[in-house]
Subunit: 213 residues, 2 copies
């Protein structure tokens, strides 16, 4: 079961590493991080690089595709090798998944046309113009397409997928092994629960968060 995690410059690290940490522990999982070139790929903030061990051309037929988001996503929205690879990889995949603004890449590749999908809450208005049907849920399943909301939602998406791939008991074993029993010290993780001042402050920084230069 080959699981390809896409890397591109200025992705959000947790978008990729959250699902990796879950899916890599499933029986038979063979995870490979793929990029336009082999070698280190700098993530959003710049102070962390993840290593691409294979080029896009070397991984043309994965069973599962994981597409992270992050400000670097924008550079690929108008076409090019990443969108070409997504179409190729999706053609044979059993599951095609995304985290955060990774779903915008899937949509730009034409893979979410008419499909229910989600993305980072700040980017929800970008789904419909790309042909997808926006759904304000943390994890959205439509056929073989699993899309997650912003950043940390990739963990919940991955446990959902783990259950589909390996059954509830195995998924729960991975959850317990990772002690995934979240207890956030604040209740501000969604626009519905965040204090108004926090919501306003984050909305005001929308372009910086989504497109950080």
């Amino acid at each position: 079961m080959q699981i390809a995690v896409l890397l591109f410059e200025r992705l959000t690290a947790l978008d990729a590493v959250g699902p990796y940490e879950v899916l890599a522990h499933l029986p038979g999982a063979d995870v490979v991080f793929v990029g336009e070139r082999r070698g280190p790929v700098r993530t959003e903030v710049g102070s962390l690089a993840l290593t691409a061990d294979a080029t896009l051309a070397e991984v043309s037929n994965p069973d599962i595709v994981v597409v992270p988001g992050g400000p670097g996503q924008r550079a690929h929205m108008d076409g090019g090798p990443i969108l070409d690879w997504l179409r190729t990889a999706d053609a044979g995949s059993a599951w095609t998944t995304s985290v955060c603004t990774g779903s915008l890449l899937l949509a730009a590749a034409g893979l979410l046309t008419g499909r229910r999908a989600t993305t980072h809450w700040l980017a929800h208005d970008q789904l419909a113009p790309l042909g997808a049907v926006p759904v304000a849920e943390r994890v959205v399943t439509d056929g073989k397409y699993l899309t997650a909301a912003g950043v940390s939602a990739g963990l919940d998406m991955a446990f959902t997928l783990a259950g589909r791939l390996a059954g509830d008991t195995v998924a729960q074993c991975v959850q317990l092994a990772h002690e995934y029993d979240p207890q956030p010290p604040y209740r501000a993780g969604s626009p519905d629960t965040a204090p108004p001042a926090v919501l306003a402050a984050v909305r005001a920084r929308r372009d910086l968060i989504l497109n950080r230069p």
Copy 2:
């Protein structure tokens, strides 16, 4: 505010990347991933490498220390450059933190003697022999020492620390920007909530999980 995240071969990726993703977004944060050597460091499963951008010697006086866990931690428990660096870095730190079995490294370095601390639930019995006072909570604060339970608890630890460093409003803004509103599809993330069969299965794999060869 220099934040040093320690890397060593066969660490658990999410232990390091979870806190990084939170702390790197705080005002004035300057995160650096440090290792015995510069370059790629393979994480637990082997299919992901994170890049160390500085050597231990190059980062001797960080403001904040983040120590991940993972099976590779054992190789450093009996002394050597990692424990030496932890003592040096801790001497001047404002906060010294750990995720999962990273606290065993702090304890082995003599930094948790008589202090309340936590670790992965499967490793709790290893804290007392190292001089720490084990506490079965997800995030434990004792003075400047913040220790987190297994893997995913690093996110909750980091948001706790974010509040101390930058105030509640900034921490909540980062939480909302990361959409950290966890909704695990299963309720199996702690030994208290996991179904008995899941608990038994994970306990039976204790050595594999903690010390994966």
